[in-house]
Symmetry: C2
Subunit: 499 residues, 2 copies
Amino acid sequence: MGPAPIPVREPKVVTHIVDERTRTLQKPSSAIITAIQADPKADLRRERSNASFASRELAALMVGGEANLVLREKIAAAVRADPVFSKKGKYFMERSELYRTTLEKYLALPKLAVSMGEKDPIAVGRIIRELIDEPGGLDLHLGMFIPTIQGQGDKEQQKHWMPMCTRLQIIGTYAQTELGHGTYIRGLETTATYDAEKEEFIVHSPTLTSTKWWPGGMGKTATHAVVMARLVTAGKDLGPHAFIVQIRRNEDHQTMPGVTAGDIGPKMGYNAVDNGFLRFDHVRVPRRAMLMKHSKVDPDGTYHPPPVAKAAYGTMVFVRSDIVMNAALYMKKAVTIAMRYNLVRRQSNPGGEKSNGSHGQKGLELQVIDYQHSQRSLFPVLARAFAFHCTSDYMRRMYFRYEKTSRVDGDYSALPELHATSSGLKAYCSWATKDAIELCRLCCGGQGFMALAGFGSTFGNYAPNATYEGDNNVLCLQTARYLLKVARAVAAAGRGKGG
Amino acid sequence: MGPAPIPVREPKVVTHIVDERTRTLQKPSSAIITAIQADPKADLRRERSNASFASRELAALMVGGEANLVLREKIAAAVRADPVFSKKGKYFMERSELYRTTLEKYLALPKLAVSMGEKDPIAVGRIIRELIDEPGGLDLHLGMFIPTIQGQGDKEQQKHWMPMCTRLQIIGTYAQTELGHGTYIRGLETTATYDAEKEEFIVHSPTLTSTKWWPGGMGKTATHAVVMARLVTAGKDLGPHAFIVQIRRNEDHQTMPGVTAGDIGPKMGYNAVDNGFLRFDHVRVPRRAMLMKHSKVDPDGTYHPPPVAKAAYGTMVFVRSDIVMNAALYMKKAVTIAMRYNLVRRQSNPGGEKSNGSHGQKGLELQVIDYQHSQRSLFPVLARAFAFHCTSDYMRRMYFRYEKTSRVDGDYSALPELHATSSGLKAYCSWATKDAIELCRLCCGGQGFMALAGFGSTFGNYAPNATYEGDNNVLCLQTARYLLKVARAVAAAGRGKGG
């Protein structure tokens, strides 16, 4: 006799009643299961108390001292207390909602940063941004638009644009990559043709492939953009230069006449950011829309090349040092999730079920961290998280030293080494971090695959670091070229000495 | 003088008029850009016509002959013609819509498969499933529920359940993994306690960690489940056995009394599948709900262990050979996207801008495929796609040979090698494929990151293969153990001969 066939109609509401006899029968079975149960919270507490070093001292060391650590805790508490920064439901949101709520966080950031009453609200803002932990529609405004104006605008241009930028009266993005060209910047096809009679540039997208593609914030958020376009004056193509162009009206946020812009669609990650496209139909901008700290165009169209050929590389180096810093941040996040899970998760006991599980009663399964495979996977990532932290600190200091000597003394001699170092580190750290996030996920078994574990979004949000701001493979070649050049110079000097 | 300040009010509607003078000024600039433009379609045509082999012959070889290739083309045309199978808008859908439209495709599958008028509609259905190219809510019904009934149900049970399964009168899933245990199956905590008086089992979830977690289709789709639970009869814990339990009512799809079930939430991929959770509160099922091909429980509670200890491993081996086959499929898909893009994408020309670009006019940029880095990345993936194709064919034949000898002759001697081979191949192929998809994405630069490129969903949908059906690291150890055992046996035999 097989099981009863499925009834065709079932009663609409059924109360589930469990009788005493059934409960009595179940009890011994449940006892078999509950006889040996670990307490994950106790596991975590014990592991923490077993540390062979003062963890608070280490934390203080990493953020530059106890005072900074206290400040961070104060900021974290304030962020936690403000519902606008809540991450609740984040993994369940569709894209438009994720975009909106993330933007709200960035818009609430300045007020909170100022309200903390610290001397340096910018530094406080940076910590809040770290805690928001999601790239948003304002990222390019903060990370590329403002630094480009500061790095490539002359004093007058900075004075004009910066107050509007910091008050968020305008929101900018950085439009360099096109549908047809990314890594090969000289191939960009957008043109800016100078009209000496009107003292204006005509910004134009002459081909489909000249469409600007990817700028973060371009989809919806931005009102302005730094547009990299080939400067053409007196019939001569002078290569890519930076121009500030208004994209949307402040009044109603509609695109400006002659401008077509929108969102490029969903991505593997970064979905809180409205990466966009941008096209120009003979759009006129004033001569002074060109950022003129390094190169200049006179009213009559005369072009003045930059006094130092690669002076504009500074911004690029700054952004790459940012990527190295982010590598450390993302690595720390991923390895923290994975380590904690590997401490509280117990699975099997190859020593026999009756043998002593790690730190516990007889018969307990082993904590996953006690398996060699888990240690071999996670400990190097943990070590690397610390190493990347120190490396990014070093890289950042190296940049600020250069920034000062180049600005104050006009000394650009540190640029080649800085450029080679930041290129190589950007490539190495972004690859290593991307792979480490995926390894940490795999170390969490099935649970690592759930959105709530955080690995999917962490990977998706970090992954583009291997591609943008210079494809990693190309950057490796640039660093290698520099190293060979230095090696050759050393060899030549050696020969000189010997001769 | 800086640029004009931003006007406070702008007119609501502005017609963008480009005067003749502006057009005339722009023309020479546009000419600079359009002078050298490649035609991606021509590039692709030329590359295809340059093949040194008959590509149709290769395609036929891979699907088992020209007749099969023609059939595939016929099926593909039918799928393309039926709007229910359309992939339009897929990457823009939120999860519930993706779930619904994917389920609609699976529900339309049987009708289309039968309508093709072929001798083997099951084989046709398999090809349609390949073309749907998205795991769906019916996957576990087709890939685990039915095979488990066929592999572990006795003749009577198969006769009872199979017709309902194939007519989709019931939809099943396979509930093995729990919140607390995945790889370590003996640690499962759900119990099935036999009540000899009523000839029923009491299925119960005694702990939080005993909650079934992950079954595909459990969130919404399934009415039934094969539940792996520890069989307890006469007070003895006999380890995990398979039981068919009704989860939802056929009438209104509400959960059955004593059953709690739902969706576990969003994941890194696989979001068209409603992976779910499942708990039992003293749920009674008839004695014959236990699948009894291998082990049995008599009405009086007497337990009969399986005649061959590991006979039930067959289903597991079958599913792993499926994963190897999928590895080949996913690898082919990823490398096809990447190869095509690397053929039509042109970027830079390190030989100097005036040198001859690959296959084209002077000054053209190089096709990316002509860079060593692209070839070194993609050619091994392409080769591996073919190798995995052949490997999965071999693995599948090996399984069917075993399936026949074990079923017809009761000969299980091929099982150890089959188990070791399928474990090792599952681990190797799923890791290699996961990494290859990511490598292919990186070879497509920024565009690879867009959802529309297909890598994100391909990676997300394939990634769990490294974890489910046995974590890869554990499977590697199992294969290694088998190899050492064989090596030891060979060594012992050698010593025997020598002595």
